[in-house]
C-alpha cells in the first residue's frame, strides 16, 4: 500500500516537472540558438543566396505572415463571435444550439491539411482567385473559427444573467444590451480568444501550402498575390538542409510572437476575472 502511494507520488511529480521542463527547453533552445541570427539586416532584408534563404533576411515572410494572420483573425473573429452571440442570445431552440456546438466540434477536428485542400478547391480553383494571400488567410480563418467561437461562447455564458434581465426590464433592447453591456464586459476575453487564434494561424503552414505560400516573393503589395509565410519558409529551409543559422532565426521570430501573444492573451483573460 505504502509502495503504491510512493509510486503515484514519484510519477506525478516527475510528470509535472518533465512537462514544465520540456516547455522551458523548447523556448530556451530556440532563443539560445537563434539569438545570433537576429540582426537588423536579417529582419529587414529579403532572402538571398544561391539556395534561397541561405543568406539575407526574412522581411517578405514576416510581412506575408502578418497579412495572412490579419485576414484569418478578421474572418474568424467576425463569424466566430457572431455565431456565439446568436447561439447564446437569439437561438431559442436548444436543439439548434447543440447542433451548432456539434458543427463547431467537427470543424475543430478537421485536420489543417484537409482545410488546405478545401481552400484550394473552393477559393483557388472554383472561385478562380489563384494562389493568393486572401485565399490563404481565409483558409486559416476557417481553421481558427471554431477555436474563437468556443471561447467567445464560454465568455458570453459567464455574463451574469441578472444583469441582462435588469437591462431588459429597463426597456433596453436586446441588440443594445448585447452591444453595450455584454460585449463590453466580455471584450477582454474575446480579444484574448482572437489573439490565441491568430497565434495558431501564424504558425500553421499546412493550410497555406496549396493556397498561398510560395518559396520566394517580394514584400506583398496586394492581397490577390501569393506571399511567403514564416512557417513555410522555415520548412523550406529545413528540407533544403543548408542554412541552419537562418532557420534558427526564423524559428526565433515565431517563438517570440508566440510568447508575446500568449502573454497578452493571458493578461486580457485575467482582466475580466479581477
Amino acid at each position: 500500500m505504502k509502495a503504491k502511494i510512493l509510486l503515484v507520488k514519484i510519477w506525478a511529480v516527475t510528470a509535472c516537472a518533465l512537462t514544465l521542463g520540456i516547455i522551458f527547453f523548447l523556448f530556451a533552445y530556440v532563443f539560445w540558438n537563434g539569438a545570433e541570427a537576429i540582426t537588423w539586416e536579417f529582419l529587414t532584408s529579403a532572402p538571398k543566396g544561391l539556395v534561397i534563404g541561405t543568406e539575407g533576411g526574412i522581411l517578405p515572410a514576416i510581412v506575408g505572415s502578418a497579412w495572412y494572420t490579419a485576414i484569418a483573425c478578421g474572418f474568424g473573429a467576425v463569424l466566430g463571435i457572431a455565431t456565439a452571440v446568436y447561439q447564446v442570445f437569439y437561438c431559442r431552440s436548444s436543439r439548434i444550439s447543440s447542433a451548432i456546438s456539434l458543427v463547431m466540434q467537427c470543424m475543430a477536428g478537421v485536420p489543417s491539411i484537409v482545410m488546405g485542400l478545401f481552400g484550394y478547391s473552393l477559393l483557388v480553383l472554383a472561385l478562380g482567385w489563384g494562389k493568393c494571400i486572401l485565399a490563404g488567410g481565409i483558409t486559416q480563418g476557417i481553421m481558427i473559427l471554431p477555436f474563437i467561437q468556443v471561447r467567445a461562447e464560454k465568455a458570453l455564458r459567464e455574463v451574469d444573467p441578472l444583469l441582462i434581465r435588469a437591462s431588459y426590464s429597463l426597456g433596453v433592447s436586446r441588440a443594445y444590451t448585447i452591444r453595450k453591456l455584454v460585449l463590453g464586459q466580455c471584450l477582454p476575453q474575446l480579444v484574448s480568444g482572437v489573439i490565441l487564434g491568430g497565434c495558431h494561424a501564424m504558425g500553421a503552414a499546412a493550410p497555406l501550402i496549396f493556397t498561398g505560400a510560395v518559396i520566394m516573393s517580394k514584400v506583398p503589395k496586394s492581397v490577390m498575390k501569393p506571399a511567403m509565410a514564416l512557417p513555410y519558409h522555415l520548412y523550406m529551409l529545413l528540407i533544403q538542409g543548408t542554412s541552419s543559422v537562418n532557420a534558427y532565426g526564423t524559428a526565433f521570430v515565431m517563438m517570440l510572437v508566440v510568447l508575446v501573444a500568449n502573454t497578452a492573451a493571458t493578461w486580457f483573460a485575467w482582466r475580466r476575472k479581477k
Binding site: 512537462t19 523556448f27 477536428g109
Partner: protein, 292 residues
C-alpha cells in the same frame, strides 16, 4: 424603431451563424466531390486496403492503395497518445491535488503555450534533437515512427493535461475535504480516490488527443522520413496528411492521382468526425451523470 434595430441585429447574427454552419457543409461537399472520381475509378476497397501506392506510371498501371499510410497514421497517433497519457495524467494529478487555485492560474497558461507553438517549430526541434538522439543511439537514420510519436506526444500534451485537470479538480473538490478531515494523506486521496474517479474523464481526453494527433501534418512529416513502406517502430513511415502535403504539388488537377489525394483527405476527415462526435456524445452523457 428600436424593434427594427433589434431584429436587424439578430438577423445579422443569425446569418453569420448560418454561414458558419454552411461552411462545414461546403467543406464536406468539396472534399467529397473531388474524391469521387478516384473512388469510382479505383474502388473504395482498393484505396483503403491496397498495399501499393504507385501514382506515377513506369511500366505497369498506377495503383493507389493507402493501407501503409493509414497504418502509419494510426501507429504514430497511438504511440503519441500512450506517451502523452503517462506524462499528462501524472501532471494533471499533481496540478489538481497539490497546486493551489492561484498556482494553477499561473501554470495553466504556461502549459497552454505548448498548444501555440507552430508545428513546424516542433518538427524543427524534433529533427535537430529527437532524430539526432536516436541516431546517437546507434541507428543509421533517426527519422522514424518513434521520433514522430515522441514529437507528437509533446504537441498533444496541453490538450490532455487541461482536459484531465478539469475532471480531477472536480473529483478532488468532492473528496479532498472529507479525506483531509479523516486524516487521510493527500497522496493517498490522489492515488486511491481522485485517479479512479477520473477514469472516464481521462478516456474522453484520450479521444480528443487522438483526434489532434491524427490530423497533425508538418511536425510529423518532418521527422517521419516519408517512406511508403509498412511502418515499423524504428523504421520510416508516412502519414495520410504527410502524403497529401508532399504529393499535391505533383498531382495534375483533375487526374486520378489528384482525386486519390482528396479521397485520402476525405478518409481522414470522416475518421476525425467520428472521433469528435463520439467525444461530444460521451461528454454530454458524463456531464449528465455528473461525473465530469
Amino acid at each position: 424603431m428600436r424593434k427594427t434595430e433589434d431584429r436587424l441585429f439578430g438577423g445579422i447574427m443569425g446569418i453569420f451563424a448560418l454561414l458558419t454552419v454552411l461552411l462545414l457543409a461546403f467543406l464536406v461537399f468539396f472534399i467529397v466531390r473531388e474524391s469521387l472520381p478516384a473512388i469510382r475509378e479505383v474502388g473504395l476497397r482498393e484505396l483503403l486496403l491496397g498495399s501499393q501506392w504507385r501514382p506515377i506510371i513506369y511500366q505497369d498501371a498506377p495503383s493507389y492503395g493507402m493501407r501503409n499510410m493509414i497504418l502509419s497514421t494510426v501507429y504514430v497517433a497511438a504511440l503519441a497518445v500512450a506517451f502523452a497519457l503517462v506524462i499528462g495524467v501524472g501532471c494533471a494529478l499533481f496540478l489538481a491535488c497539490f497546486a493551489t487555485e492561484r498556482q494553477r492560474m499561473w501554470i495553466m497558461p504556461y502549459i497552454d503555450l505548448l498548444a501555440s507553438i507552430p508545428s513546424v517549430v516542433f518538427g524543427f526541434i524534433g529533427l535537430y534533437f529527437v532524430v539526432k538522439f536516436i541516431e546517437k543511439c546507434g541507428r543509421a537514420a533517426g527519422e522514424s515512427v518513434l521520433a514522430g510519436g515522441i514529437v507528437l506526444s509533446v504537441m498533444i500534451l496541453p490538450y490532455m493535461i487541461s482536459s484531465c485537470c478539469d475532471t480531477m479538480v472536480k473529483a478532488y473538490s468532492r473528496y479532498g475535504g472529507s479525506s483531509a478531515a479523516l486524516g487521510v494523506s493527500k497522496w493517498y486521496t490522489a492515488g486511491e480516490l481522485v485517479l479512479p474517479a477520473s477514469r472516464k474523464g481521462i478516456l474522453i481526453s484520450m479521444a480528443l488527443a487522438t483526434g489532434r494527433a491524427m490530423g497533425e501534418t508538418m511536425a510529423v512529416m518532418m521527422v517521419l522520413g516519408n517512406a511508403i513502406g509498412l511502418p515499423r517502430l524504428l523504421g520510416k513511415g508516412e502519414t495520410i496528411s504527410g502524403l497529401i502535403a508532399l504529393e499535391m504539388g505533383m498531382a495534375e488537377v483533375g487526374s486520378i492521382h489528384y482525386s486519390a489525394l482528396y479521397s485520402a483527405g476525405c478518409f481522414l476527415m470522416v475518421l476525425l468526425f467520428a472521433i469528435n462526435i463520439i467525444f461530444e456524445l460521451l461528454k454530454k452523457k458524463l456531464s449528465r451523470e455528473g461525473s465530469l
